[in-house]
Point group: D2
Chain length 135, copies 4
């Protein structure tokens, strides 16, 4: 799979409200993906920080890209569980969403997701997700 | 606090992208809140089901309303952790987000959130959240 | 299923180290179970409080009892995910572990677990679990 | 801090039931720790696999060692939240518990924990934890 095929999955399978995040696939591989969440004032809550909801949504969405890449293309799947911690505020920066697939089973997949502001060393948030693969 | 004051918090403190969810406060109390996530095609992913990202975002947002109600008005706070399970698909229905505050400490608050399609008996999703209260 | 059959499952399927917790099944039903975690000094950490690890272990174990009861007897299953929040300390009291099965699917089951000191109104801890049912 | 000082923390602050796990500190550093969970038949459930409860307990316990190491010695702390996924069975092998502290704040610390059977490449389980530091 190429990043362009990843972007096509974002366009074809996700809700319009998720499209509004403007996510862009930067990198895909056998067991990982990197997706960019561009900074936008529309995602800033009162006070100017990036809303945590956008980070949870980006983590979930980027996992679909990573599992698709690991499977060689989109397959129907559904999120079973997502746990997210919020560790540092983000303001005025894109966030890079790094997904590693730690287990790709026949019916369940597990991922580890780190969300880091572009150029920063430390994560803003971390997520673990479990997906059911439906085919 | 009244539901109208809850709606004012939604307007004043949340990101424009969260406002797009069209959440409405139905009920607030000493230790709980009920918030409606109206059905919208903009929240439907390919296939017609409500996207899980909208449910995670609604759970997080509704918890802010419930903690504000428990505190008698909005206080600065930040999500520390959210765990969400996705149990049943939703299509074509509003979702009612029931939040119970199970612990309201001086610096940390805990909630239990059930998301149920309007008129249904069984939950579509469940979330547990931890918040840091900043004042 | 009866509480006695639940106790037999505890004896037959769990590790000796889990048996050391002395869990007792108090109640089982179509979609729920109540299990008692008896106070023991062996479970107290320095300072005298019940260790959180015992509460996580009790929540997991009690979910197996509840799913077994919902299925009419023990079935092979494995924990996929457990999220636990720790809300209040416990000292010198048994803890009652209330499990509700919120979804019993063909391959996945979801539970909601509240751990409350005997006689208390407020929870010490809360857990959400996801199980894969292997038959 | 040295591994020996880590082992002393295990002896001095944890419940006897946790001591029964036989955990040993292998490595400590500024932002990480490695703790060994030795294989024991007492931790095997029916069928011979390592019980998940032992892995949750080891992840929690090892995080205390890592935070202590990051702070230069034991400080009073309490687990706020732990999320654990179980990805692969373990049988007959020690498990190495790798903890990275991803944020060490004044009042909250966050860790990322990977549990891998000794000699294996892929994780058996993964945990994320949030701790409140009480001093």
């Amino acid at each position: 799979m190429t990043p362009e095929e990843g972007d096509a999955i974002l366009r074809d399978y996700f809700a319009p409200w998720i499209q509004d995040l403007g996510l862009r696939v930067e990198e895909v591989g056998e067991r990982h993906a990197v997706v960019r969440l561009p900074w936008s004032d529309a995602l800033a809550r009162q006070g100017g920080g990036l809303c945590g909801q956008a980070m949870m949504a980006a983590a979930d969405t980027a996992t679909v890209i990573a599992i698709s890449s690991a499977r060689g293309g989109f397959v129907p799947m559904t999120t079973v569980q997502q746990s997210t911690t919020f560790q540092r505020p983000v303001a005025g920066k894109d966030v890079l969403v790094h997904v590693r697939i730690t287990k790709l089973g026949r019916t369940l997949a597990f991922s580890d997701v780190t969300l880091t502001p572009d150029g920063a060393a430390d994560p803003a948030a971390h997520a673990s997700t479990v997906y059911a693969i439906l085919t």
